[in-house]
């Protein structure tokens, strides 16, 4: 603490006892249930979505166990169909999208120097709607879970072919989580547009905040479409509507168009914030600025816009006009350009840096490699004559998992290791982190690389059993073993987090010597986030602050221990 000298460095970063919670903040479960503080809401989001992630993961392990041997009888076809429906729906609507919202909830206000979100009570409502959606959906397992896949095609999903209540539970999930996300999106947009610190122009906005801004706009445009579609399905199931019934002038293709018009932007909703996390973490651990800030920001917006033009590449095998086939193949090729640009910019960020192999960086590097594989398999799928062979097979399952695990899951884990110190005030174990990374990386490769071959060999997806022909038994066994390696890797991180809450090293405000404003206040931050919001002069405000503190304290009489980093923090790098 700098107390001795007459001149004190400004701003003064004072670390009191490294308290888990700042004094004066409300305690007890009722304070959590009624909170409108973005940090607490963010924590609730992250914990809730991680629980759903584990549920979705267990469903996946059960799927893989059934497929571990040909002609297996571990589960019935009905249960198998329910499992993959629950798995896909859970991962998309109850894990990835809201987890990104949770990270954004905690960190966007901090990164832009704001006190809270623009609409704190609306923020709380978003969380409770999410929880309600998850509870409503999972309560269906006590009656009839949905069986029609996360895509819920009609006529399969109508009341004739899906007579139970499972489809209705699915519809209510979409409505509740959709409303949650929509309100959150409006909140994020209003916050980012209006509550940035003085000096934080659009060109100085942290890249993670750029991706959250884009994520919000995508949600605002895409969610109403799916909300309309599932309402039409609900009406068809229960109120005598005939939107999708060909016998009375409706069309099953209408569902496919509506679903995928939402569904394709949805995947960019899932991966763009993950890209934002990578863009934040790489510069910190390479010790140099992001390469091509403007290009990355522009690519983010380009991907979001183009993402609305490619939905029909999920429908190449449907009876659609030739012109649509050609247009959508070209737009899907086109979207590969800004995506590729991002990957190259990330590699260039590491180039000629001094790369520190800490866990957040490892997860980001792994994410790039995994996403690259998925992006390349996407080129095959975009080429529609090839898609005619590989669509609806394990080739697509492999592709979607590579892009989602690389573009969303691994960045989420990177974000957990990176931001856990800020949220809790303690560091996670780097050793355990490396073990978790290795298991997850290896697990993903083992589970999903071979699935390309399974699909090329002719095995469709969403089948509960397969015959013992060719090498399918061996390939599926490899994939099943990989899924358990992946699960083990996730478990290691869970153990790491639980353990670190009690015995992790005290982090201090800025353990990584990072670039953005969330690292200015203490860890965890006080309720009001910032006592004084600094003037922002660049896209890396913490570097400017450190430089300014250095300048002013060397100009004054240097007080002992007046360094920018308070006692007790771990130092990283130079």
């Amino acid at each position: 603490m700098a107390t001795a000298a007459a001149q004190q460095p400004v701003p003064q970063i004072v670390a009191h006892r490294a308290d888990q919670r700042s004094t004066g903040e409300a305690r007890g479960w009722t304070s959590w249930a009624t909170t409108t503080d973005h940090k607490r809401i963010g924590i609730m989001y992250m914990v809730t979505t991680f629980v759903f992630f584990c549920l979705g993961g267990v469903e996946a392990l059960m799927l893989r166990l059934q497929l571990g041997a040909p002609n297996n009888t571990l589960v019935t076809p009905q249960v198998y169909n329910q499992l993959f429906t629950m798995h896909g729906t859970t991962m998309v609507f109850l894990f990835v999208v809201p987890m990104m919202a949770g990270l954004a909830n905690y960190f966007v206000p901090l990164m832009i120097g704001a006190r809270d979100m623009a609409f704190p009570r609306l923020n709380a409502l978003s969380y409770w709607l999410l929880l309600a959606g998850g509870i409503v959906f999972y309560s269906s397992i006590f009656w009839n879970p949905p069986e029609a896949g996360w895509v819920s095609f009609v006529p399969l999903a109508n009341s004739v072919y899906s007579p139970g209540g499972g489809e209705d539970a699915w519809i209510y999930l979409i409505h509740l989580t959709g409303l949650s996300s929509l309100l959150g999106a409006v909140n994020f947009y209003a916050t980012i547009a209006n509550m940035r610190a003085r000096g934080m122009s659009w060109a100085r906005l942290p890249l993670f905040v750029w991706t959250i801004l884009t994520y919000s706009v995508l949600l605002i445009f895409a969610l109403p479409v799916i909300a309309a579609a599932v309402t039409m399905l609900l009406a068809e199931r229960h109120f005598g509507a005939h939107f999708f019934d060909p016998a009375t002038g409706g069309s099953p293709l209408l569902w496919q168009h509506l679903f995928w018009f939402f569904g394709h932007p949805e995947v960019y909703i899932m991966v763009l914030p993950g890209f934002g996390v990578i863009s934040e973490i790489l510069p910190v651990f390479a010790r140099k600025p992001i390469f091509g800030y403007k290009a990355i920001a522009a690519s983010t917006v380009a991907i979001a816009f183009l993402g609305f033009l490619t939905w029909a590449h999920h429908m190449f095998t449907a009876p659609i006009p030739e012109a649509l086939l050609v247009f959508v193949m070209l737009s899907s090729y086109f979207i590969a350009v800004p995506t590729g640009v991002k990957i190259l910019n990330w590699i260039a960020t590491l180039w000629r840096g001094t790369v520190e192999y800490r866990t957040p960086l490892l997860f980001c590097a792994g994410a790039i490699a995994i996403f690259l594989i998925g992006g390349i398999s996407g080129i095959f799928l975009a080429t529609f004559p090839i898609d005619w062979q590989v669509n609806e097979t394990y080739f697509v399952v492999a592709h979607l998992h590579f892009v989602l695990l690389g573009g969303a899951l691994m960045p989420i884990f990177a974000a957990i290791y990176y931001w856990f110190p800020k949220i809790t005030g303690r560091m996670m174990s780097d050793g355990l982190g490396r073990v978790s990374f290795a298991l997850i990386f290896l697990g993903i490769l083992t589970t999903f690389l071979i699935q390309h071959v399974i699909g090329l060999d002719g095995m469709p997806r969403r089948v509960y059993e397969y015959p013992d022909v060719g090498n399918l038994a061996l390939y599926n066994l490899i994939s099943t073993i990989g899924s358990f390696i992946l699960a083990l890797g996730v478990l290691v991180t869970i153990v790491n987090a639980a353990r670190s809450l009690r015995v992790g090293a005290i982090a201090g405000p800025d353990p990584w010597k990072a670039n953005t404003l969330e690292w200015l206040p203490s860890s965890p931050p006080p309720v009001n986030n910032f006592d004084v919001v600094p003037l922002v002069r660049s896209a890396e405000p913490m570097k400017d602050i450190r430089r300014e503190v250095q300048r002013r304290s060397s100009a004054a009489v240097p007080a002992p221990g007046s360094a920018t980093v308070p006692a007790g923090a771990t130092q990283v790098g130079v």
Partner: protein
């Protein structure tokens, strides 16, 4: 002496089969396979180049004592360069795809040894629509593929009565003549299914209310296996299909036999209806 190159060739093709889709039954499948191989070659080059760059950056620029990071913010020419480069590669792939597209989508004429086919208006193909593609001479063996939970039905030309009644049909196994262009008219009677025999080409959805079209032309007699490729319910995994290709004469004989069975069944039904009529009296059903 040429056993070694032959063994190597066999090893190579087996290895390649690992990385490529099924083919071998029909020219459209073979052309998809060759397009796939070209895209694969380009994809592998791109993959190893980028992964190589990533690995090199991580290893060569690892934090070391005394090393400092170069504070670079960007390089406009480099960024423009690789953006244009990526676009050029993709334009090339698009051109390649369109060059090969015709051979995948457009059915050729049947070969000389194929079944004799009727043309349009001669009791063969009933109509040609904008989406359906016919061979240049307009003649193909048109089979309707009907998807239903959980079995495929195939309806052949040769209806004995108006409005398509009495047409020969089979379930689960489609019998076709070799060296003959077969065009498929894919429909569904309940939910969405997807017709797929990998060695005979791509898959196409069977959507109720729609017709979807594809074709194949088999040179080698044999049985080609496939299955429904879009979730259609609990029995989806068991909705298999096979295509049995036989010499044209054998196909004609089989088809004639199917028609004969239908004729016999119709005759027996007529007798049964008459008997029922005489027993029940006035309350007869005209067309059971």
């Amino acid at each position: 002496m040429n056993r070694i190159p032959r063994a190597l060739g066999h090893a190579l093709s087996t290895t390649l089969a690992f990385f490529t889709p099924e083919s071998g039954g029909s020219p459209n499948a073979d052309n998809i396979d060759s397009l796939y191989k070209i895209v694969l070659a380009i994809a592998l080059v791109i993959f190893f180049a980028v992964i190589g760059g990533l690995a090199y950056a991580l290893i060569r620029f690892r934090a070391r004592k005394g090393a400092t990071a170069a504070q670079i913010h960007g390089n406009t020419r480099l960024e423009l360069g690789w953006t244009v480069g990526a676009a050029v590669i993709l334009v090339g792939l698009a051109i390649l795809t369109f060059v090969k597209l015709g051979s995948i989508q457009n059915p050729p004429n049947s070969s000389a040894g194929g079944a004799s086919l009727l043309g349009e208006g001669e009791g063969g193909v009933l109509y040609a629509s904008a989406d359906r593609r016919l061979p240049p001479n307009g003649r193909s063996l048109n089979i309707q593929v009907v998807g239903r939970q959980y079995i495929w039905q195939f309806v052949y030309p040769g209806a004995s009565e108006p409005d398509g009644l009495g047409a020969p049909y089979s379930y689960e196994e489609m019998v076709v003549p070799t060296n003959t262009t077969v065009t498929l008219d894919i429909v569904s009677s309940d939910v969405v299914h997807s017709w797929w025999v990998p060695q005979l080409g791509g898959k196409f959805q069977a959507v109720p209310g729609y017709h979807n079209y594809t074709w194949f032309k088999i040179e080698k007699p044999g049985v080609y296996a496939g299955q429904c490729a879009l979730l259609c319910g609990r029995g989806h995994a068991r909705m298999i299909a096979t295509v049995r290709a036989v010499p044209p004469a054998q196909f004609e004989a089989w088809l004639a036999h199917q028609k004969q069975l239908i004729a016999q069944a119709n005759a027996a039904a007529k007798v049964a209806r008459a008997k029922l009529g005489s027993q029940v009296g006035a309350r007869q059903v005209e067309n059971p």
